[in-house]
Symmetry: C2
Subunit: 249 residues, 2 copies
C-alpha cells in the first residue's frame, strides 16, 4: 500500500481524498490542515507540522501563494513532495525534499462532485527515479495520466483559463441577457453542451459558426445595437474581430 | 397527418428532415431547393416555385438574407409560412401568407448528428389561431417547446453568440496554445465538458473560478507574459477585467 499525505483542506484536497478512498493501492494516512475541516475524518487530521507522519508521498494542495511557505515548514528531508498547481514551478518547493508536480486538469468546487477517472493528471518529477511512484499514484485514480514539463504545464494553465474561466464568464453574460428578457437561462443549456461536445469530433476551427464567421455585418450591427452594457459590447466586438482574423489565416 | 414542406437544403433543413422522419404525426411531403441535394429523396425535391405542393405548414430554412426573397416567390396565399432564423423578424416574410417563426436553438453542422428531442424550439405566430399547429409540429420532434416573442428571440440569439460562437472561439485559442507547445488538445476536453455541465447545478456566477476571480495578479501577469499573440493578450485582459467587474456588483 502506498501511503500518501495531503496538505490543505480545500477543493482539491477534498476531491483527491474522495478519489483515493476508492483506490486500492493508495491510502491517505493523514491530512494536514491549519484549521480542522469537516470534510475529512477527525482521526487522521493534524494542524501541527511536528506531527506529520511518515509517507511515500506528500501532496501540497494549498493556495498557490502558500505552497512555498508550507513546504519550508515541513520538518523532514529527502522525501517526495509535490504540489497540485498549474501555474507554479516545482522548484518553488523547498529543495530539502525531492520535488514534483501532481496537477489535476479540472475545475473543482466543493459542492460539485466529479469523476476522477476521466480527469487528466499532469505529472512532473525533479528526479527521474520518482516518476514511477508518481505515475502509480496518479493511475490509481485516473485513466488519463500525462508527463508534462513546466513549460507545457504553464501553456495548459493559460489554455484552461480560456476554455474554462473565460468560457464560464461568457455563460454568465448569456445568463444576464436572459434575465433581462425574462427567459429561463436553462433554454441555453443544450446549446452550451452541444458546443462543448462538438469539438470531440470536429476541431474548434471546423466547428465555428455564427454571424462573425459568416461576416454577416447586418446581424452583427443589430446585436451590438441590442446590447445595453458597454462591457458586453466591447467583448462582442473584440471576439467578432478575433474570429474574423482566424479565418484569414 | 400534418403535411410540412421544407424550403432550403442546408444544415437546418437536413436536420429537420431527419427529425421529422421519425415523427408519427408529421410528414415532410416536399423539399424545395434551388439546387438538387443528396440529403433528401429525389422524388420529393423540387427547385421550381410553381411546383410547390399543398401543405399545412411551410418552413423556410434558407440563409437569413434570402428569407424575404424566397417568401416573396411563393405563389400561394393565406397559408402558414414560418422561418427558422433567430435574428429575423417574422414580418420580413411576405404578408400574403400567415406568418410565424420556428427557431431551433442549437448549433447545426451537416456532418454532426444531434438529438432533436432535447433541442429547445422557440415559436412565434402572427395569428393566435396558428399557434396550436405550430406547437404540435414542434412537439412532434422536441420535448422542449417555448413561446418566445420577437424581442426575446433577439435576446436569445445574442446570448447564443456569446455561449456558443464566442465560446467555441475560446476553444480555438486553447487549441492553438496547445499546438504551439506540443500538447494534445484532447487533454482539455474533460475540463471543457465539466465547465459546460457545472452550470446545470450552479449558476455561472457560482461556478466562476480562476486567477481573475481570485485577483491573483502574479498569475495574471505570468499568463500575459506567456502569450505571444497580441490578439490573445487583448482578449485575456478584457475578459479578466470583465470577470472582476461582475464581482463588484
Ligand atoms: N480549484 C481548482 O479548480 C484547481 C484545479 C487544479 C489545481 N488547483 C490548485 O490546487 C491548489 C489548491 O487549490 P484549491 O482550489 O483546493 O484551493 P482552496 O479551495 O482555496 O483551498 C486552499 C487551501 O490552502 C490552505 N491554505 C491557504 N493558505 C495557507 C497557509 N498559509 N498555510 C496553510 N494552509 C494554507 C487553506 O486553508 P484554510 O482553509 O485554513 O484557509 C485551504 O485548505 C492550488 O495550488 C491550485 O492552483 C486548483
Ligand atoms: N446552422 C445553425 O446552427 C442554425 C441554427 C438555428 C437557426 N438557423 C437558421 O436557419 C436558417 C438556415 O441556416 P442553415 O445553417 O441551414 O444555412 P445553410 O446550411 O447555409 O443553408 C442555406 C440554404 O439556403 C439556401 N439559399 C441561400 N440563398 C438562397 C436563395 N437566394 N434562394 C434560395 N435558396 C437559397 C441554400 O441553397 P444552396 O445550397 O443552393 O446555396 C441552402 O439550401 C437561417 O435562417 C439560420 O439563421 C441556423
Amino acid at each position: 500500500m502506498i501511503k500518501v499525505i495531503l496538505l490543505g483542506s480545500g477543493n482539491v484536497a477534498t476531491h483527491l481524498f474522495q478519489a483515493f478512498s476508492k483506490a486500492t493501492e493508495v491510502e491517505v494516512v493523514q491530512v494536514f490542515s491549519r484549521t480542522l475541516s469537516e470534510d475529512f475524518p477527525k482521526s487522521i487530521q493534524t494542524s501541527d507540522f511536528t506531527k506529520i507522519s511518515d509517507a511515500d508521498m506528500y501532496i501540497i494542495c494549498v493556495s498557490d501563494d502558500a505552497i512555498a511557505s508550507v513546504s519550508n515548514q515541513l520538518e523532514f528531508e529527502n522525501r517526495l513532495v509535490v504540489h497540485t498547481s498549474g501555474s507554479t514551478d516545482f522548484n518553488l518547493l523547498d529543495k530539502k525534499n525531492r520535488r514534483g508536480v501532481f496537477y489535476p486538469l479540472q475545475t473543482f468546487s466543493k459542492n460539485k462532485s466529479v469523476s476522477f477517472t476521466e480527469i487528466p493528471i499532469c505529472l512532473e518529477s525533479e528526479h527521474v527515479s520518482d516518476y514511477l511512484l508518481l505515475e502509480k499514484v496518479a493511475q490509481s485514480i485516473s485513466n488519463s495520466v500525462y508527463k508534462i514539463d513546466g513549460n507545457q504545464r504553464k501553456a495548459l494553465h493559460v489554455s484552461a483559463v480560456f476554455v474554462c474561466n473565460f468560457t464560464n464568464h461568457l455563460y454568465q453574460i448569456g445568463n444576464e441577457i436572459c434575465n433581462q428578457n425574462n427567459i429561463p437561462f436553462s433554454i441555453l443549456q443544450p446549446l452550451i453542451e452541444e458546443t462543448a461536445s462538438k469539438i470531440k469530433t470536429l476541431s474548434p476551427k471546423e466547428a465555428q459558426t455564427g454571424p462573425a464567421l459568416r461576416k454577416d455585418s447586418k446581424t452583427i450591427a443589430k446585436h451590438i445595437d441590442f446590447l445595453s452594457d458597454e462591457n458586453q459590447v466591447e467583448i462582442y466586438k473584440l471576439l467578432t474581430k478575433s474570429i474574423q482574423n482566424v479565418e484569414k489565416l
